[in-house]
Symmetry: C2
Subunit: 311 residues, 2 copies
Amino acid sequence: MKYAVGVDIGGTTVKIGIFEESSKLLTKWEIPTVTANGGKQIVPDVAKSVLAKLAEMGIDKNDVIGLGVGAPGAVDENGYMGGGAVNLGWEPFNLKETFEAELQGIKVKGANDANAAAFGEMWQGGGRGYSDVVAVTLGTGVGGGIIVNGKLLAGATGAGGEIGHIHLEDDEPDTCGCGGHGCLEQYASATGIVRLAKRRLAQDDAPSVLRDSEISAKTVFDAVKAGDKVAIEIAEKFGYYLGKGLAAVANVVNPQIFVIGGGVSKAGEVLIPYIEPSFRKYAFPPCRGAKFALAQLGNDAGIVGAAGMVL
Amino acid sequence: MKYAVGVDIGGTTVKIGIFEESSKLLTKWEIPTVTANGGKQIVPDVAKSVLAKLAEMGIDKNDVIGLGVGAPGAVDENGYMGGGAVNLGWEPFNLKETFEAELQGIKVKGANDANAAAFGEMWQGGGRGYSDVVAVTLGTGVGGGIIVNGKLLAGATGAGGEIGHIHLEDDEPDTCGCGGHGCLEQYASATGIVRLAKRRLAQDDAPSVLRDSEISAKTVFDAVKAGDKVAIEIAEKFGYYLGKGLAAVANVVNPQIFVIGGGVSKAGEVLIPYIEPSFRKYAFPPCRGAKFALAQLGNDAGIVGAAGMVL
């Protein structure tokens, strides 16, 4: 039997999973992310925990095909993180080589965490059975990962699939986190939806259940499901921008399927009919047939994808 | 010695080249494209011409690593042309298999012609030395080809890199060839530049040498080089849209370099300073460092790239 290890390094915890070659998850656990002292402890902590678990399970290191690791920053093809990882305190360094130095011969492959999760969704989740997949993460921001012919597209500086900053609106007065104006993320992230909702509610006095509740992506889509007209207008605006942005993505990489994940996607299938009309309008006809699906792996996408990358 | 054959099928002629494995072009020639009768003669004509030339040169078929072919339509990873090729009269069929049936054991790889040319520019032209390249063809339309980690991105339906129909302008009254409004191609193609020029000239009576000449991409950029103020405004508009469109491309695939080819690129280095400011403004910071270069292979890009694909 051969095995793979998947690691997903977050700002608070590191998720780790041991998988059989067949993709079966044998065990998963978490350790705290120690960001003190420039995050220097993180890699040795993970390596130690992995080696201890393998020993405990009686798995020989020679039977481990590799360890895949997703980290919250850009990771290039060689495992180098040229921008470090702000959330972990990491300066630029080589993630792959640093891990390999601690892992007693186990081969390592690194990727951006969103890309690893995208790979997981392609391999075992919403994009299963497809080889050309764009995974879209609608969370605090909008991230993504692109799989071309079964392989992750890392990009020159590891920023492949970072689609949240595609420019969509010339007349946006608010400034995006990147310093720009009118980025996809300003409309399609959880915070973007709240912004759209507040803007719509301030526009007139039309009745809406949203006037009596805290506004979040969840309350907006709950109101949509309940037939609230104002919430439906907000969802239409969200879908207009997201569909337009994904049409631009389709016109570049021509995927078979978009897999929508992240916190916003918990709203479920209700999202997709708001995205599709705008997508079909703005996508070039040969790219217009791309399917839409929801992500299925939730918080496990990162460890599943990281392990999948080495198999 | 091993060899490769590169074929570039156009609407009027088919260009063919025999290359050494080292990439050295040994000979190139053209045969007419016979589009009558649904273009059924094209593949047998090319195959016969190639086999005759190999025999004439004393090259054993077993020493031919493969034949690459670029065709004016979408070609998927398996060589299937799901949309046929309108200019050639082709209905949907498998280009690779049809060629292989005629070629007595020589392996064939098919690609869209713009993608093959893009591959050529990466391998031997303006993108030499890079592995993550976006080639942009500014001709009658705007096409492109994307190379990720040294490999062509074909896309689900073979439309990968067909960036000409990225939507950029909500307020465009004219209709694009695709039926949309505000596509990149409406501003950055040769015909798009003429359209921008006519629109600008109709706006007021500002003096310009363009008022006395036939308007083409060439006369516009000749006037720019001569310091004509109106022409410079037209070039700024062209560069604004092209830079914005390529920023969207960069935010998806994060290339190392853009290689600008096609008829418009004959204007030369003068183009690039008009594209870069808008590109840098709209590109996500980690993607902003992409370089710009001009294509170098001219009409040979197609045969060079087609041969390169099989090597």
